[in-house]
Every structure is written in C-alpha cells, then in structure tokens.
Symmetry: C2
Subunit: 527 residues, 2 copies
C-alpha cells in the first residue's frame, strides 16, 4: 500500500491544494515519508456532495450488504499488514504490542456492529395496529423504527491511531447506522489514517458500496469548520481536546440547522479511596493505581488524574508504596512534542500549587519526548480553592487530594465537572460513607467502578464511554460499545402504510425476526 | 380550587414580585379573574435550588411510588372538575368537548407512563458478565441502564392547555424519567396552568414526594431565560413558536454547560396528492383535507399547510370540491388576539404572492378573534422562487402548490425544511412515482402518512411527534408516546459493582422482571 498524501474524495484521489505537511516520528523528531495535501474548499465541497448522493444509495443496500461491508473493512485493515503497524508505530511512538492489540480491537468493533445489524433489534421497531372501530375516533396503524441521520463527519483522536481514528468506533457505528462518513485525518498520524482510509475504500469497492460512502481529508482548522457547517453534514463525532471539541460544538449548534455533536473531550476520572479499603490494602491499591496512571504514558482519556482519600496513617503507607511503584517506571515516548510539552507544563503548574509526592526516575534530557510520571498531593481546602487543580493534565500525572473526612471527599466530588468515569475503593468498614459517594459518582460520570481502575474500556453492550459535560458534549450517548450506533439515528413513524411499502423491520411477518414492541408487548412474532 | 396567582415554588405559594398580569377571554376580549405575579429573580433561584434538592430524594423513591405519583396527578386533575374545564374554556376559546377530550388524553398520558415504569424494560438494562480468566486481560463485569438527567424546565403550548402544558407530555415523561419539573406557565392560560399545577402539588403531597419535585412559575422572557441558563437545569422541553424555541435553544447550547433542548417549533406538514389518487377520489380527498386544515381553527402543529399536486383536469375537480367544503366552515375563535392577528397577516401575505383558491364565509367584523379559513394556490416555479411561501401560517390556512409533474413535486419537497409530518395520497396508478416521494418524506419528516391527514397525534409506543430541524431542535426524539421518556435520561455503566450496590434493574436475580440484554441476548431470566 502506497501513502499518496492525497485526500480520498470517495473513490477519487485528489491533491489539488498546494499546502502540504509531513508526519513526524515522536521518538526521533525526524520527518516521515509522505507529503499530505490539505484539502481545498472546492475539494471539501465535492466531498459533502458525494456523501449526500451516497446516503440515498447506501440506504437502499440490504442490512446483510452493510454488515458484509463492515466485515470487509476489518479484513482489508488486516491485509494492510505490518506495513500499517510500522507506519502507526513510527507516527505515534506507541509500541508494537499495543498497536497490534488496538488493531485487533478496531477489527472486533467493526465485526461487532456487523453482528448487531444482523441481529437487527437495535432499530427499536414499534408497532401499534389499527383499531378502525374505536370511539370516538378510529385508531390508525402506527409503526416506528430508527433511521440514519445522514452524512457524519468524524474527527479521530491522537492517542488511538486505529480504534478512535479513520476506522474507529465513530466510523464503524456511523456506517453501521447507515450514514456515510467523512473522516478528518489526524495531523499526528496522517499516513496511518490514509492507509486505513484506503482499506475502507477498497472494502467499499469490493462490496459495491456507493462512491462517497467514505471519504478522508487532510484539513486545517478553517476547512474543518467549513465542513462542520456544511448543510450536508448531519452529525459530528470527535475525540480530542476540550478546546477543539468546543470549537466544533459551537460551530455545529450555531448553524442555520443545528446538528448533534458527540465530542469526547476531557476527564480527570476521580478515584475515591475510602479509609477501610486503604487500611486493608494500601500497598495493593498503590500498585494498581501506579500501573493505571502510567499505562500508555498516561495518554488515555480514562487516565485517573485525581485521587480523593482521608488523610490518616494508612495514607502515608499508600503514598510510600505509590512512590516505590512510580520510581520503578521507565519514562516512555509521548505521542508528539506538543503533547509532551503540554504535559511538562502541567507538571510545572502542579509543582507551583501542590506538593510533589513522587516521580519516576528522571532521564537525561536527550531531546526525546519521554514523559516522567509524577504524583502530587494537596490538602482538600487548597484543592477547593484552586479550580485549575481539577483540570486534566494529559499524561502520566495524578493528584492525590487529602481530605479530613469523607464529608470533605463528597464536597470535592460535588464540585467536579462531568467525568467519563469515577471509581471507589471500599470495604465493609466503609459502608456508612458509601451511599452518598456512589450517588455523587453516578451524578458526575458515565461509568462508575467499584474497585479497579478506569483505564481499559471494554467494548461490549453495557459499556458507557461518555458522561456529563465536559467529559462529552452529549451525556445521553456512548462512543464505545453497541449503543454507540444510537448516536446516528432518529425515529420515523409510518402511519397506515401498506405492507409492501413498509421497511422490512416493520412488516407484519417480521422477516428479520427482530424483537419489536407490538401493541405494548415485546415480541418476535408475526403481527 | 382557588386561583391564587402565586408562583408554586415546590409546595410553597409565593408572590413577592410586584409585576402582575391577568388572562384574557379571547371570545370576548374581557379580562378574567386572577392576578398572576411574575416570578422574581430571587424566587427563580429558590425554585431551582428546591428542584436540585428534590432530585436526590425523588431518585430514592421506588418505581412503584413514582408510578402512583403519576396516577395520582391524573386523579387530582379529574378532581378539579368542571371548574378547571370552565377556566380552560374561558382562557383558550376552545370548546368544551375538545377540552374534555384533551383532559382525558392528559390523564391517559400520565397513566401510560405509570404503566411504562411498572413494565420497566424501557431503562435499556444491559449486562455483560465478567470473564476473569480471559487472555490477555480479564473481562470485567459491566452493567448499564438509563438514569435521569436532573431538573427539567418545561415551556407549555398555547394550543393545548392540558396535553402540552403544566401536566402535559413533557412534564409526564420527565417526572416518569425521575426528573423534577419546573413549568413556565403559558401567559394565555395561566389560570388553567395554576389549577393543574395545584393538582400536581396535591398529588405530590398525597404520595409523599419531595418538596420541589414540581414547581410552576409565571415568568417574563428575561427570567425564563435566566432559568434556562441556571446550572441546576439539565434539559428543556418546549412547544411553541420558532422564535421562542430558538431563543431558548441558543441560550441553552451556549451555557458554560450546554444542555439538551427539545423544542417543537413549527411545521407546514406537506400533503402530496399523486395524480392517480386524485383521479380516483378528488372529492373525497378534498373533503378530508378541508376538515383537517380547519380542525381546531387550524391551531395544530400538525396542520397541513402545504399541498403538492400535479396540475391536471382532476386538480380542478379537487379545488372546486375543496371550495365547496371550505365555504361551509363556520369561522371560530382563535386562542388569542395575537394569534388571530398573526394568522390574518399570513393570509394577507399569501394574497400578495399566491392566488386565493377559496375562503369560508366571511363574517361581519365584530371585533372577535374568529379566523376565516383560506386556501391559496401557486405554481411550483413561483413557490420555489419565494421561500416565505413554505413558512407556517398558524391557523386554518393552506397553500396548494401546482406542479407540472412529479419531478416538480420532488424538487419542491427536497427544498423544504424539516417537518413533523409528510403525507402522500397514492393509488396503484401512482406506483411509478411513489418510491422517490416516500424517500423524501422520510428524509424530511418524523412521521409519514399513507393516506389520511396529519392532524390527530395518537399517543402510543410507535408515535413519533418530532422531526428534523426546524420541526424540532432534536430529531432524535419524540415528544408524544412512551419514547418521550428517553429525552430525559442518560446511560450509566457500573463496573464490578457488588450485587447489593447495584440498582434493582441490574441485579442478577432481575427482581423487576424486565427485559435486558444479557451477554448479547435479550432475556428476562436471572443471570
């Protein structure tokens, strides 16, 4: 597979623009092969026109055809082989094992949505049959199901070159829903995105999908916002910074026709360690916490950036054990110089406002972008007085907030913004405090954990990777798991439609054998 | 029941403000008894504080308690008796039969949500059990379900003093979801709203619901927007004008924490009459259409304001028959002088731009607010050239767009904004044209009808009362039917939670006997 540096305008390679950029290897600082052409305004207009035309055709495809398309994308990504993994490693600085696993997860997500389509019940089919002789008025026949919104624009993430990028969860769920997708390639891994994009186009051609069902562009911010504002775009998926997400959200909701934005932006993922749990297992919790905060050089949106605990003798054991674990960690390459610099700036700000509890071994400054893990501590009253301490530092950095008692823990939790996750460690001795803590965790987060740590986002039906603002711009949804498909659909009701004109999902004989609500009862039966 | 003119700040009557207003009888222009005190800034702050406190308590109530609360509201509304109906008639000008029916629908909606709660499966419970020995990493136990957003603010409609007002669909679905509700009383029927609000408070007291689970305020626009911007408010329900809805939407999405807005704003509800259907039954369709466009003095959001048909000999029969039907209609009182004036202004603008096809018998100008039904016609090319012709005129007014062929019909449909409904009349002779027409109807509307007319919104599982912007600000939802509850919830996932700490809906033994997705399969079984 050749990296062309061209925009993929549906099935057409296009590079009419004169502005170009190259990718950088964060481990070496060297430029990587490939010159990527920024999409022009005219090309961007062609992209949305193709997506609009493709939407009508894509929706005429059978569910089985759509499922095969998704599975073929997974096959084509695998077929790109080591060449794709090598490029992703070079662009991201992430190790081979991690990227191999992430590629597997990406393929699994595509196959999961194919399976969801074949099972079919996700369309929420509802049937209320007519009662012609009802008094005072006849009851009409009404049937409803979910239908795709239209072309979706996806902004991939820096930290997951596969699973949250060109063929990631947003793309997979939007294509599964029946929506054409336009991906803005991430500037930190444009070659990886192009190769994955080519794999998707190849799958689209092999499965006879319409030209325009998928496009991928290299874009600066101005043209990206132009695309967000294009009337053809009906929803946005985004994973990245709060600043970037809010720029897109503001543009999207202030359009003549506002559209939904699913931006996953930032979280500090509080971990609450209640006294009984710490007394019972301070060293074990410290070990697990150190591993979680340093996993992937702390570059996960579920990274635990805040710990709340009662300051007692066991806290000292916890912090000492945490030190022992953190000190052993080998610094590792971050995704980019910019992310590395931002992480260091965050550390410097924490040094000014909090106490350094521990850091991992320093390394000689080789000019490499290798982040040193840092843990800080601060008294609850100082934490409460300084809003900036509750902001995310993207990297292997966390802040332990020392509280006088569990009331102070609850006060601090109540003051937090929305989060992707919230975790509590508790045992039988903590029972008296637990209920208000869990209530606050539910109020603040999309996923609550009892024990363990928030890094590691299982892909399954029950996953909620989302949460109240600013964790995301739409707490009603998840970007991971089968329910992610629900972001890209809306319900349509059919009143008194003849059987031949109804979609398969709503016909009397239930040819798809899906679960439906029929006259108030769940059923897979014929009406 | 006494109309106090006080704001209902939870269980407390409050009238500290000095600004007051009275309701007007639109049939006579006379002021009605009751002086309504506009809520002050301090009172508005007290309202949201009470709602926030009530949210935590309301969520601790059992599902059965919540269901009984909803049913008790219905009983209390009925107990308000003829006094309530009389006040609603006086404030709205709507006839007794209509309001009696609407009250019944309002009570039925409350009971429907009580039934939905008891069945319980609507919470979308999902369970993925742990696989501790999975390689390379253990799979955690993950369980998710829908949970309420928090306090909801509801703006009722002028045209449904019961079913879309203080105890209407928005209030019923938000309370059912577990969200406290703050209603802004409608200035055209404040007495009706207060009486219904008192019925809700009475029900809340009888069923031991927390103070603040329901509040009702009389408010000007400034204070209403202050409430929309209050961080305590987590979602908005609105039914009314596009201008009003967009003011609320803009305020809500530009908050520090943006919140969802479910504003149902405007629609012209196109009716497409294909040539075969008109040839077969021009007179019958004309009769049905005349009844639909004049029903309730045209004051329904589903009123059919646009007709598209091919201009042939049968069109003349249709228009002549329409004339015969329209001419028989007796003008009737509109909801207010302002609505009447706006309707007349719309008619004048149509007179300038289109041809008057027919109007009902004129009436001597008695100063009453009685609207005269008007039907206009216009050539498709003139319709396409004048965007204002596709805007809603709220009242018994419709515009017939005469097309050269079905291509022109499709072109006109493609140019329309989003709609609540779209209707087609077709028979076997129209088969060749039908598919693209239905595709466009689905693209543009939340509910598509085959035959019949869009007025009359059935309350059931399959109803979709919603649609693409500007019909609503959130096409992913419906404001009528059981699915309306989904507007006020978000999913929360529980990872590795001990059984006793899980919500009932997610416990292994499934005490609520609800349908769940367990390890990929739908089941009511114990895990």
């Amino acid at each position: 597979m050749t990296i062309t540096g061209n925009n993929l305008i549906g099935n057409t390679l296009s590079a009419t623009g004169s502005e170009i950029f190259a990718a950088v290897n964060p481990s070496t600082g060297a430029l990587l092969p490939g010159q990527f052409h920024l999409v022009t305004v005219a090309e961007a207009t062609a992209v949305t026109a193709k997506a609009t035309a493709a939407f009508k055709l894509y929706n005429k495809k059978s569910i089985e055809d759509r499922a095969v398309f998704l599975e073929t994308i997974a096959e084509e990504i695998l077929a790109a082989g080591d060449e794709l993994l090598d490029r992703a490693m070079a662009e991201s600085g992430l190790p081979a094992a991690r990227l191999t696993g992430e590629r597997g997860r990406t393929m699994m997500q595509l196959k999961m949505f194919a399976q969801l389509l074949r099972e079919g019940s996700w369309v929420d089919a509802r049937i209320d049959t007519a009662i012609p002789d009802r008094q005072p008025l006849p009851k009409p026949d009404l049937r409803s199901m979910l239908t795709p919104l239209g072309p979706v624009m996806v902004f991939g993430a820096s930290n997951f070159p596969f699973a949250y990028s060109a063929a990631g969860g947003d793309t997979a769920s939007a294509l599964a829903a029946g929506c054409p997708v336009i991906v803005k390639a991430h500037p930190l891994h444009p070659g990886t995105d192009e190769m994955v994009g080519q794999a998707i186009i190849s799958a689209a051609k092999k499965t006879n999908m319409p030209d325009g069902v998928f496009s991928l562009v290299f874009s600066n911010e101005t043209t990206a916002i132009q695309l967000v504002k294009d009337p053809a775009i009906k929803a946005i998926g985004f994973t990245g910074s709060r600043k970037g997400g809010m720029a897109i959200f503001d543009a999207a909701v202030n359009r003549a026709e506002p559209i939904p934005v699913y931006a996953e932006m930032s979280a500090v993922n509080p971990v609450i360690l209640l006294p009984g749990a710490v007394a019972a297992n301070a060293a074990g919790i410290a070990q697990g916490f150190a591993a979680s905060v340093c996993m992937g050089v702390g570059q996960f949106c579920t990274n635990p950036g805040l710990v709340f605990m009662v300051d007692d003798d066991n806290t000292k054991i916890f912090l000492r054990s945490l030190s022992e674990n953190i000190e052993k960690i080998t610094p590792a390459t971050m995704l980019s110089k910019g992310i590395y610099t931002a992480c260091n700036n965050g550390v410097e700000q924490l040094k000014a406002a909090a106490t350094l509890a521990t850091e991992s071994k320093a390394i000689p400054d080789t000019g490499k972008t290798e982040a040193v893990p840092h843990i800080f501590s601060v008294a609850q009253k100082d934490f409460m007085a300084n809003k900036s301490l509750s902001q995310e530092v993207f990297g292997p950095v966390s802040l332990v907030v020392l509280c006088k008692n569990t009331d102070e823990i609850c006060e601090a939790l109540q003051g937090l913004e929305g989060q992707l996750t919230a975790t509590v460690h508790a045992n039988a001795d903590d029972e008296a405090y637990l209920s208000p803590v869990i209530d606050l965790m539910k109020e603040k987060a999309g996923r609550v954990l009892f024990g363990g740590f928030p890094t590691g986002v299982e892909v399954c039906d029950a996953m909620v990777h989302g949460g109240p603002f600013p964790a995301t711009t739409d707490s009603r949804t998840t970007s991971v798991g089968t329910a992610a498909i629900l972001r890209f659909v809306r319900p349509v009701a059919y009143q008194n439609f003849p059987q031949p004109l109804l979609p398969e999902a709503l016909k009397d004989n239930n040819p798809l054998k899906i679960l439906r609500i029929v006259n108030g009862s769940y059923s897979r039966e014929t009406v």
